[in-house]
């Protein structure tokens, strides 16, 4: 099974309330701080993006549902900092001791921010895994959706597209496999494809017979149809 974050296709969330185009980037000052603290902490090098996504997904369903977006970020971050031994429970309770911290030399400095953000962190990697599918080929996604290496672990196959038949639209190359990388089990890069599914393959009452959904799926999520 997947987790609470996997909400594609869910009923009951009500209307979308689009803000105007020129609304502030950050609705509250603390949203901006939450984003910045999270990014800056990532540069301490104690986790990768898949680990940090999984930390948010592992919030309990009750917390995930009641937290606003950046509350999820900051709470997932606090959990990760303790889990990785960067901070202790006592640090969170009482602020703990002041520095120096063993990781302090890794601190992202203001004059390094621009270059660090511009550098990014590509997931493209060379891979020894042979490309199995060609553009136009029919494939079926694995069922049930879930991490096949770690029970309850991170995966990027949404539940709504599990066991569905689609067609290879594009080969993106070979990318780090989140199901492995989120758990410290190596990057395990493999081919990744854009796979297109007719809406009728995914939903009982699709809005239009010609509508489609495309997902980016790793080769190990797919079988020949």
């Amino acid at each position: 099974m997947t987790r609470v974050h996997d909400m594609g296709g869910r009923f009951g969330d009500g209307p979308i309330n689009p803000e105007v185009e020129d609304a502030p980037v950050f609705a509250e000052d603390w949203h901006a701080r939450a984003l910045a603290v999270t990014l800056a902490s990532g540069f301490l090098g104690q986790w990768n993006i898949d680990v940090s996504r999984h930390a948010r997904e592992r919030l309990s369903p009750k917390d995930y549902a009641r937290f606003s977006y950046y509350e999820k970020w900051i709470s997932g971050l606090a959990d990760l900092l303790v889990e990785r031994g960067v901070l202790s429970l006592d640090d969170l309770r009482s602020g703990g001791e002041d520095g120096p911290h063993p990781l302090a030399e890794r601190m992202l400095k203001a004059d390094a921010v621009s270059a660090a953000l511009a550098k990014g962190g590509p997931a493209d990697r060379p891979s020894n895994v042979a490309v199995q599918f060609s553009v136009g080929q029919q494939v079926v996604t694995t069922r049930p959706a879930g991490n096949r290496i770690v029970d309850g672990g991170h995966t990027r196959l949404p539940n709504y597209a599990s066991g569905a038949r689609g067609r290879i639209l594009r080969l993106h190359g070979t990318h780090v496999l989140p199901d492995s990388n989120a758990h410290g089990l190596g990057e395990a890069p493999e081919p990744i494809y854009a796979v297109v599914f007719p809406a009728s393959e995914l939903w009982t009452s699709p809005e239009h017979p010609d509508d489609e959904v495309v997902l980016d799926l790793w080769q190990s999520y797919l079988e020949p149809a």
């Binding site: 909400m7 594609g8 296709g9 869910r10 009500g14 979308i16 309330n17 689009p18 803000e19 185009e21 980037v25 509250e28 603390w30 701080r33 984003l35 603290v37 800056a40 996504r53 948010r56 592992r58 309990s60 977006y69 509350e71 709470s75 971050l77 606090a78 959990d79 900092l81 901070l87 969170l92 309770r93 602020g95 002041d98 520095g99 120096p100 302090a104 992202l108 400095k109 550098k119 990014g120 962190g121 997931a123 493209d124 990027r156 949404p158 597209a161 594009r170 190359g173 990318h175 990744i192 854009a194 809005e207 239009h208 509508d211 489609e212 959904v213 495309v214 980016d216 799926l217 790793w218």
Partner: protein, 204 residues
């Protein structure tokens, strides 16, 4: 590694979110793990320097230059990097083109993946449960809530960003824009038109 400990460490921080952030920032700062000036720099970058104006410039150029457009649709990453748009959350870019028979829109049902170097930080609605849950199942109802109703013979293709590939929609060039400069065209390109929940503005 996954554990479902109900005594999550975050519960030790103040419950009120602004105070929770402040507490964590203070602890990390006192230990020399984050630099408040670096936080200011990160915020300034995404508040003032990187935003939808970047994507709008790419779209306007694609409308104006057929060779650029062809190259963009073939390999967007290197083409937009040549314009200076590369970096975090935009390391592998794909541009998808709207036509008179197909409308594209982008969502991330699992989190909030979004092409930061071209569009900046996603708007609140993009990160909302409602958009994440509904865009893949009822895109036309979602578009109607943005004031956009598509012709019946236009199909909708929804891109769920489930990986580290980031998508930008190339909207159709509005009528009545012949001879306009790239700069004037870019002013017509809205953020939502590059996510696929809107259309470009009509020329005045």
């Amino acid at each position: 590694m996954p554990h479902d400990d109900h005594d999550h460490p975050h519960a030790l921080l103040p419950p009120e979110p602004a105070l929770r952030v402040k507490a964590l920032e203070t602890i990390l700062t006192r230990k020399g793990l984050i630099d408040p000036a670096a936080l200011d720099e990160i915020i300034d970058t995404y508040q003032n320097k990187i935003g939808p104006q970047n994507g709008a410039r790419v779209v306007a150029k694609a409308w104006s230059d057929p060779a650029f457009k062809a190259a963009l649709l073939e390999d967007a990453t290197s083409i937009v990097a040549d314009l200076g748009y590369y970096g975090r959350q935009g390391e592998h870019m794909v541009v998808v083109e709207n036509t008179s028979t197909r409308h594209n829109m982008v969502v991330c049902t699992l989190c909030s993946c979004y092409p930061w170097p071209l569009l900046g930080i996603p708007p609140g609605w993009y990160k909302s449960d409602a958009y994440r849950a509904r865009a893949v199942r009822e895109p036309r109802k979602v578009l109607a809530e943005f004031g956009l109703t598509l012709p019946e013979d236009t199909s909708v293709r929804v891109w769920d960003s489930t990986a580290e590939v980031r998508y930008l929609v190339l909207p159709m060039r509005p009528d009545g824009t012949d001879g306009m400069s790239e700069e004037a065209l870019a002013a017509l390109v809205t953020r939502d038109s590059m996510i696929g929940t809107g259309l470009p503005k009509a020329p005045s």
